[in-house]
């Protein structure tokens, strides 16, 4: 089979029509997942077993099973449950986009919460003790000391998770969504030219990945400006 470059040029614009959907999935489930992650992380570090255990179980289940299976359970499995089909959330679960957001959010939330927890645990105890000795209460210490330092510690790992999330969005084509991958698969099914289409799509994803990495590096530099010893003897 020969490599047909002209095909790429005709297919690329079509595939890029799916980029909007890819970004919607990425941003929406990224933001919702972060919110979920913060809740889970707070439950984990609360020191109360009745908050810690449920969070731990949740994280264990969602990190221990494939995202594809989670997507299938939400999309194909949930509608079998009467209370979902009759419930008020049915408009969300009826819609494949809603299902994709739910599955991706639940999944990334589990991962990110562990990253955030790592950041929180990474904050030097001595710094918190200094805050305590100065009379700052728990809440003030968390807001003014733990949060900014933990955010900076967690950022590199968080960046990697955003990239994982981007890659996971490619799986929504299995539940009828026409994201970039979904469109590409349809084109392949019509043109029978998997290499041209998939390779050019892979390059598109790589460019987005590099873009995310650059963005994260920039945020990291900004957040971490206090970690560089510049201009001082």
């Amino acid at each position: 089979m020969s490599f047909d470059v002209s095909l790429i040029f005709s297919a690329l614009p079509k595939m890029l029509m799916g980029i909007g959907l890819t970004f919607q999935l990425l941003v929406l489930s990224g933001v919702l997942g972060l919110a979920l992650a913060i809740v889970l992380m707070l439950m984990r570090v609360s020191g109360k077993w009745y908050l810690d255990w449920p969070a731990q179980t949740y994280i264990y289940i969602f990190r221990g099973t494939p995202i594809l299976v989670q997507i299938f359970i939400v999309y194909y499995g949930f509608p079998q449950l009467e209370f979902i089909r009759e419930g008020i959330l049915w408009p969300i679960f009826r819609d494949p986009f809603g299902c994709a957001i739910v599955a991706l959010t639940l999944n990334t939330g589990a991962y990110v919460s562990e990253i955030l927890r790592g950041g929180v645990l990474g904050v030097d105890r001595g710094i918190l003790e200094a805050g305590e000795a100065l009379g700052l209460n728990r809440c003030q210490r968390f807001t003014y000391l733990t949060t900014p330092i933990a955010a900076r510690l967690a950022l590199p790992a968080y960046g990697n998770d955003v990239i994982s999330l981007l890659k996971s969005t490619a799986l929504v084509s299995t539940i009828t969504l026409a994201d970039m991958t979904g469109i590409a698969r349809t084109i392949v099914a019509q043109t029978y030219a998997p290499y041209e289409i998939f390779i050019s799509l892979a390059i598109v994803y790589m460019i987005i990945t590099l873009f995310i990495q650059k963005l994260m590096a920039r945020i990291e530099r900004w957040l971490g400006r206090y970690t560089v010893r510049t201009g001082q003897t």
Partner: protein
């Protein structure tokens, strides 16, 4: 033949028909079992390959050879930036073509060589996770305290001895936690190989759904199986970590 096609069971609902859940699975247990065996096989094969790819990548990145560094950088950029599903599809469709082309260079007689879905999928996920392992191994090698290495050099050990007895011996302990996560990624990525028709658990579930029309219970079943695998891996890593960090616990 065709029994199920003609007399379809009513579709499973959790609410009104208790006990139905297990009923639906009757006849599919052995399929899930063999599907799990396939998952285990893919996992073990890709684990070996992943370690090899990771070590090669790390060695290349740490080497002073610019070309090796470039290749390894390219490798990690490509495989960390491309969705797994695309890598698997590409390798599945592309492997036969590429292999045949290579083989024909050596022996023009060869009509075609094929990579079966098992190996296409296995190599694909090993390449993907190997790109992450590259960074882990690299970091672990760098994490070995330079002081240990200098002490070994000062004692007169040669390059090989320093590498083997000090670097590697310390490095694997450092790599272990992240490596455990890579193993979890591998096991979970095996689910994607169902897309190219490998008869693993998720594919079994799809077939079972075609016959029983009970996606919820079938996919939950797959989830449970994967959770089992993840648990075994996690426990193994914990044991190894316990063993590997003896020297970090104080005796008192």
């Amino acid at each position: 033949m065709g029994r199920r096609a003609q007399v379809r069971r009513p579709i499973f609902t959790l609410n009104h028909e208790k006990g139905h859940a297990v009923d639906v699975l009757t006849g599919w247990w052995d399929d899930f079992f063999w599907g799990s065996v396939v998952v285990a096989q893919v996992f073990l094969a890709s684990l070996v390959l992943m370690v090899i790819f990771g070590l090669l990548g790390a060695a290349a990145k740490l080497s002073s050879n610019r070309i090796f560094q470039k290749i390894a950088n390219g490798y990690t950029i490509v495989f960390r930036g491309t969705p797994e599903i695309l890598v698997i599809l590409l390798l599945y469709f592309g492997s036969a073509i590429a292999l045949t082309a290579i083989a024909q260079v050596f022996n023009p007689e060869i009509k075609f060589l094929d990579v079966p879905p098992f190996w296409a999928g296995t190599i694909a996920i090993a390449l993907i996770v190997g790109s992450y392992a590259t960074e882990t191994f690299r970091g672990a090698f760098l994490g070995v305290k330079p002081g240990s290495i200098e002490a070994a050099q000062a004692l007169g050990m040669n390059g090989f001895q320093v590498f083997f007895y000090v670097r590697v011996a310390e490095m694997w302990r450092l790599a272990l936690p992240a490596f455990g996560n890579h193993m979890l990624s591998l096991i979970k990525d095996t689910a994607l190989i169902s897309i190219i028709g490998l008869n693993e658990t998720l594919f079994v579930a799809k077939q079972a759904i075609a016959t029983t029309g009970a996606p919820f219970i079938m996919y939950i079943m797959v989830g449970v199986i994967y959770l089992g695998f993840s648990t075994v891996i996690t426990l193994t890593v914990m044991t190894l970590e316990y063993y590997g960090t003896r020297h970090m616990r104080s005796a008192t």
